[in-house]
Symmetry: C2
Subunit: 445 residues, 2 copies
Amino acid sequence: MKRLILLAGLACVAALPLRAQEAVTDFILDNGMQVVVVEDHRAPVVMHMVWYRAGSADEPAGQSGIAHFLEHLMFKQTENLAPGEFSEVVAAQGGQDNAFTSYDYTAYYQRVAADRLELMMQMESDRMVNLRLTESDILTERDVIIEERNQRTENSAGALFREQRMAAQYINHRYGIPIIGWRHEMEQLDMDAALGFYEDYYAPNNAILIVAGDVYPDDVRALAEKYYGVIPANPDLKPRARPQEPPQTSARRMVFHDARVAQEYVTRSYLAPERDAGDQREAAALTLLAALLGDGPTAVLPKELQFGTRQALYASAFYSGTALDDTTFGLVIVPSQGVSLQEAEDAMDATVAQFMLDGVDADHLKRLKMQLRASQIYARDDADAVGNRYGQALTSGLTVQDVQDWPDILQSITEEEILAAAERVFDIDKSVTGWLRRPAEEASQ
Amino acid sequence: MKRLILLAGLACVAALPLRAQEAVTDFILDNGMQVVVVEDHRAPVVMHMVWYRAGSADEPAGQSGIAHFLEHLMFKQTENLAPGEFSEVVAAQGGQDNAFTSYDYTAYYQRVAADRLELMMQMESDRMVNLRLTESDILTERDVIIEERNQRTENSAGALFREQRMAAQYINHRYGIPIIGWRHEMEQLDMDAALGFYEDYYAPNNAILIVAGDVYPDDVRALAEKYYGVIPANPDLKPRARPQEPPQTSARRMVFHDARVAQEYVTRSYLAPERDAGDQREAAALTLLAALLGDGPTAVLPKELQFGTRQALYASAFYSGTALDDTTFGLVIVPSQGVSLQEAEDAMDATVAQFMLDGVDADHLKRLKMQLRASQIYARDDADAVGNRYGQALTSGLTVQDVQDWPDILQSITEEEILAAAERVFDIDKSVTGWLRRPAEEASQ
């Protein structure tokens, strides 16, 4: 009886009479600025975002952290706004604002009542070109980001472990360097570095405006042209070609010891292809592979290791294909009490090897696709999330069409494609195996 | 009887009535070009060298190989010389010329009859500023360097292994990137990249002129002023501050499989301090440590592992302290037939651990210092080698005084300093252990 209800529920989702795509309109201003409008008229609010195609992986060598540092500095004064005034105005209008930096992008957003959109555009377009930094801003805010590193990274064994693993994973590409920056380089970040990054990358032809909420495309276009359209393109903007990985030909292993480790664990990461414009099938297969291996109690790793042999407290797989350059496919296992890290790693490897022999369980894949379809349909109802999804994709080298094709591509991936993608990605020569441990009792040499 | 002869020989060396230092004179031209003159009047020949403080570790990210590529291109035409004419003129004068690129420098030299020095200066100063490249030069010479990579690197399992080890050793610094370049980046090197490196770094205030042989300082100065002194300094030359390593906190291991491997072996490298200006004692201690552990049949590793347990066909230690930034201290063991790589690695570690417990054998250190003193005294007779030694040191952040202090510093290092330096450098968290293997019979996951 319960089973019948479940099936009915799924059938209902699959049959929902929804629009085929999100209500998305996109266009490009004359100066090269891309605009994406996501309509959602259920509530009189709007999310206004500007995404720059510039993240930590675009930084000059030796200036790690400058993308994130500049993100902080963007809240200082401009020709027209006093320091901190930007956020004060947003708050006074009952809105919220913030920003975030990743490897491939830096984004600024404000969530406000829909009739405040013009004010947001006025202020955001102002700081795209009129930032006025002082040496005092640099000193103050540098302390802030260093303290942020202390909080997020230095105080966390897991974060430090991740940093060293990424550094081992990437030989040549800046995905191996932390977004927040290496501490010793953060301490040297200065006005020149900040303004250099600002001048190189903050320009309309390197930005994407995303407006999601109770707006109409024609109104957004008129406002965008008025505020952003008048800013000249940066004629010196360089093609976005970052150092790429050479062949990775040696399996790497690393051990990180930290007295603060409460729970030891093992990770394995493999260099993996990302979603490319017009070429997303491999990434889609890896997305499904990660879900088959790790997502939920019926997935291969947890089913076998948490609920079968009980060798693991937790076991999973990770893959995120939205990146400009080669990303990683990850496995993790947290051993149960009395299971060594080596035993846990061996069990994880054996489970994956058995999966490769057994192949994909057709019912498992079918359930997974159904869940994906359902979650994608529900996701359309969240205009902010839609905006974020487009922002991440467009700053990662994808097109609006790619974003819209993605759900159907996922549905169309076959069992054979998943296994073939697994064969390719599980190349030990491109992997890093990491152990997070408490310090050994005896001194290690 | 034999022993007495040996002692007499050593005493003789120690008592040689030699000058305290090489016959070296150094000065700086008004435009910032440093000049070192090494006098040696025994034969009417001269070595003329120009060293640039620019090597592969100074390259922009994504342009690996550009330092070496430019070295090749410097033999193309200038305003005054046809392509290849430089070397033809040198050969026609009975001389030899060549060039070499390393992490920290690029150097050009000609060995000619002493009376041809002026001609060499004329031509070398010409190509410091007047290089005229064509697109055809770029295409032709790029094929040449790619073929050089094929020959030196792609065709050698050991070279590929070294490349991946260095990439694992350095997280952030460009010593982790091969001097010859990553193949995929070499294929993209172009005119802009070559001219960019040339304009950034090829200038008198970034160069060192070294003239060794049958010359007098005043004559060299007059010629140097005439040819090099007239070239304006590059006012935009940046301080030489390259990305440095963050804390290395995770022991790394890697395995490189190659069917061409004739002899499997194990290496271990530790990040290690280099000689710093006015601060060379740690590097001197490490220099002696490497010799104590690995230099000759009576050194710790060969004595124990090659001639004692016979577990190794070869065992040694390596350290070269002349570098601008952190270098490496290395151990290597080639196992005997029937000894596994793990057994060999364990034996190497056990031997080093025993050395740390036993401490430095005083007689061994004394013999070593005597040998060093002798070889340094003999080395003074080779003006070319003296020139090379100064060139390497001065492009690695050291001063003439540092070079001259080095032999006495080595002599003054105590057993305690060596052990203390060993304690610091043998930090497994800063190490990479590499195995070079034939492919496993069974497929590895």
